[in-house]
Symmetry: D2
Subunit: 301 residues, 4 copies
């Protein structure tokens, strides 16, 4: 069986995992899938997937199993719990594409190592569009030999960035990225609220910043798409962003890196969560600044 058509396992076919599984199928892989939510497994081409009854069944059917799950606790139990992936006899490599932080990555890696299973810590960035189009940024930390082996599989998802063999270091890269992604929403909101109060059209001001040294993902995408039209629907929740930034600052503190900027962003996300709810879009952080400034950062009629 050639690598390109090797049977793979995939657990967690949610907003990201679903389209990623389809990309593997489209590339010719047969995929053994598992999800607690039945709907997640509907609509899959019956001849190319096998629906497993437990994570252990996935581990019994595939040498490489990929997980895309919502929290560190769920990840742990899916991999190491009773009826978990590791209970399967076929599995040799587990790839985690969730953002779960470096602490759990290290402990799972150590645990699997004892069982002769390699753990690949592989968080991704790029949203739904990236998952569908195979244009994600794929961070990877694992032993170098394992990386060589899984790289062709990960290539279906997007561009790979090898982060070394320390378990969790890809998670650290991801947390740092997400902290900055949240921070620039705050800073851009401050700058744009000032601009609006001074009479500027915020769309013109975004264009200016994007052509200048202040350019960032918030002025390039988030404000034009979700704040200026007032839709606040970028697609990432305040609750998740807060969780990531909180993990980031905690991890930094554990490593001995004070983060005065990151800590402020974390509190502003906490304020956003308190004011607009965990399910609000994380671009709602701009509304905290708007309320203080008494102005809305919106397109002109």
């Amino acid at each position: 069986m050639s690598l390109a058509t090797e049977t793979l396992g995939f657990i967690g076919l949610g907003r990201m995992g679903g389209p990623m599984t389809r990309r593997l199928i489209d590339a010719g892989h047969h995929v053994v899938v598992y999800d607690t939510r039945a709907e997640a497994l509907a609509d899959l081409p019956a001849d190319k997937v096998t629906i497993a009854a437990s994570p252990a069944e996935v581990g019994a059917a595939a040498r490489v199993v990929i997980c895309s799950l919502p929290s560190p606790a769920i990840l742990s139990s899916v991999i190491l719990g009773e009826d978990g992936v590791a209970a399967g006899s076929a599995v040799k490599i587990v790839i985690d594409v969730s953002t779960t932080g470096p602490t759990v990555a290290s402990s799972i890696a150590a645990n699997l190592k004892e069982k002769g299973i390699a753990f690949v810590d592989s968080p991704i960035s790029g949203g739904l569009a990236g998952a569908r189009g195979g244009t994600l940024a794929v961070m990877v930390s694992c032993p170098e030999a394992t990386f060589t082996e899984v790289d062709p599989i990960l290539a279906n998802f997007g561009r790979r960035f090898y982060c070394g063999d320390a378990p969790g270091s890809a998670q650290v890269a991801k947390l740092g990225n997400n902290m900055i992604a949240a921070a620039v929403i705050l800073l851009s909101a401050e700058a744009l609220a000032m601009g609006v109060k001074a009479g500027l059209d915020p769309r013109v001001m975004c264009d200016i910043i994007n052509a200048s040294s202040g350019r960032n993902s918030a002025t390039q995408e988030k404000f034009p798409r979700s704040v200026l039209p007032g839709t606040f629907d970028f697609g990432f929740t305040t609750g998740l962003s807060y969780k990531d930034v909180r993990m980031c600052v905690d991890e930094a503190e554990n490593l001995g890196v004070p983060m005065v900027g990151g800590a402020l962003v974390r509190q502003m996300l906490a304020a956003t969560k308190a004011r607009f709810g965990a399910d609000s879009d994380f671009t709602s952080m701009a509304r905290i600044v708007e309320e203080w400034a008494g102005v809305e950062i919106r397109d002109r009629a």
Copy 2:
């Protein structure tokens, strides 16, 4: 005389103003120049420039005069002082391309208006390379008719962004941009210091962030070029950045816009200035974070 070859005035042929004057000459303009520093006026093609003995002489020789000067106070005195530009009988439009803040822009505009002279507030972004290549971002606020008139001249410098007719609003856009540009140095330093302590190669981490949602001008240019190699020579001083961010936060406060993020960045620049001097490169802000974290964010040997 066609607009394209109209004689223009230029005052302040410094790091930015020098190359900008050359672009005007290359486009076919004759330029009447003035600078307090004799060297700034050396090396200019004698047949295409006239060296004036005072700002007033420039104002006497050209209908449109451009200023690129280091501070609001100098700008005011060059335009409105004894022997200032406004004392010349030819001048009808004064264009200021410096970053001098909205307050002085408004007061100069009002003052010139009484004398029948239009003021164009036109700060620029894009550094030395942009000034030489004509690829600057050129923000413009002035009456709409005046904008139509000066646009072909400003086109020599780069892409124009019209910010409306409120005097100073282009300056507000510029200050907002510069605040964000400084802020992302701090945030990127925090994220990268964490990464280095977790075992990541900071260049790989920059690549990851630039392919992900955290991308910004610091991870795209400043860190790869001036922090990772340890040169700290990006080309903008801590003193100037601090001045800009200070003006930004003050202006925001005047407009009723609290800037918790901007205010923190301002203090970190103040700390950088105290620790490394006003003449240090503003990428030195990363070194404050490095010292705290006890780690250097450098390329691997």
Copy 3:
């Protein structure tokens, strides 16, 4: 004429200056007074005061003149302007008890020195009650000989603290004090909002803090008197506190002292001003925290 009954000048009989003038009268001084507001001069014992028609008339009638005025600009014009105190022939010492910052103090001192007049920079703390009872903290900077001379007069107002002969250093002490006084409102609000959400009675929690290492003027006075009862009427406006903290952070930056804490408090006061108005009581800063936390820090019914 003995020092204790020497005729004195007093300009600015506002909330602080009014009761301070009365204390001088009660101590046996005759006082020449001036205020732009007629009501401020009503109700004074006619035999013990002389109402002047201008600051200059006060300077013509008294060797020592005290000013209690709302802003640096007004102070300057009252002392140095046309018809200002310095135009009077009798005046030899001018005492400023307002909070006007070190910059204006230095420039007035230099200006008066040329005219042979000593300037005493003497901001006060202790509020209305302190002004009435003569229990203010009186900070003083001026040449040592001048201090010896004015000390018996200042003794009518409260306890004196000699800050040295550098003009403005008493103002610096006052600004530092006021910054801390505002900061502890923010920090106490954060701690108490947490307590209330955890089920604590905020008055008990204030008692605990006041008996422990967190004690400060906010938990000792401001919360018990103006926040817990929900009256927000401590007697110092958000606008004035913001002005003071802004001057403090600016002055610190000028001196090369980064103030990450002070800068945050300044922005929170700016937010309070934007949200509740400059005339709101500065204890309203607690309401910003309350709104974020979705809880009120109030006495139980």
Copy 4:
């Protein structure tokens, strides 16, 4: 047996627990003690104490057992572990006087309740001097009836503050207090560094602040005793203060209370820990400000 002479248990005779045990002995109680460190149990009057071989033995000998231990994990295992206090048949009330945070307090309380044992969450403030002199602030949360019962015992330690019956609420009060106690070190350092740079004697400036609205425990005690003399020996470590403030901000976030001030202090303590070590005195936070400002806040020679 009268309450005043009832046999009590005490576990953890450290810096705080040692002197507290002595106060109980002096009040006439017989005390059954346990500590892992033999020296902690030396020097006790042999006729008034019984040295137990395990926490369980303490629980077998006394109805009321008091714990003063360094961490939540140790507390849990000492109370609930094998050979823990709860394994003893006599124990009916466990009092915890450590600062361990509300989370562990709640879980221990629930656990003991099932065993018919009441848990009293009773953190203290006041340092060594307070422990020796019986002048601690003693915060207490537990059922009201239990409070009535233990109050005479706690009276030996200092003034009691009843915080209600929600387990952990006394811990919340303590965390809030400790956050403020750390914060005022930062703010006072900023104000005093400014003062020193402006020529003020920092001891005079402390006196001024203490007579004015900025007064707080840092200007009243910590700076005069440990910063101005340059000894940095107040007696509480950076590591412990950081742990407390970290728990405080985390707990506040859990409760939905954003703490922009507290979060900044936490990062400054993290910076202090990174720069001067976890064992440095927490007044060393002032040195971070000193280094930035390039000035020392010290008594004049």
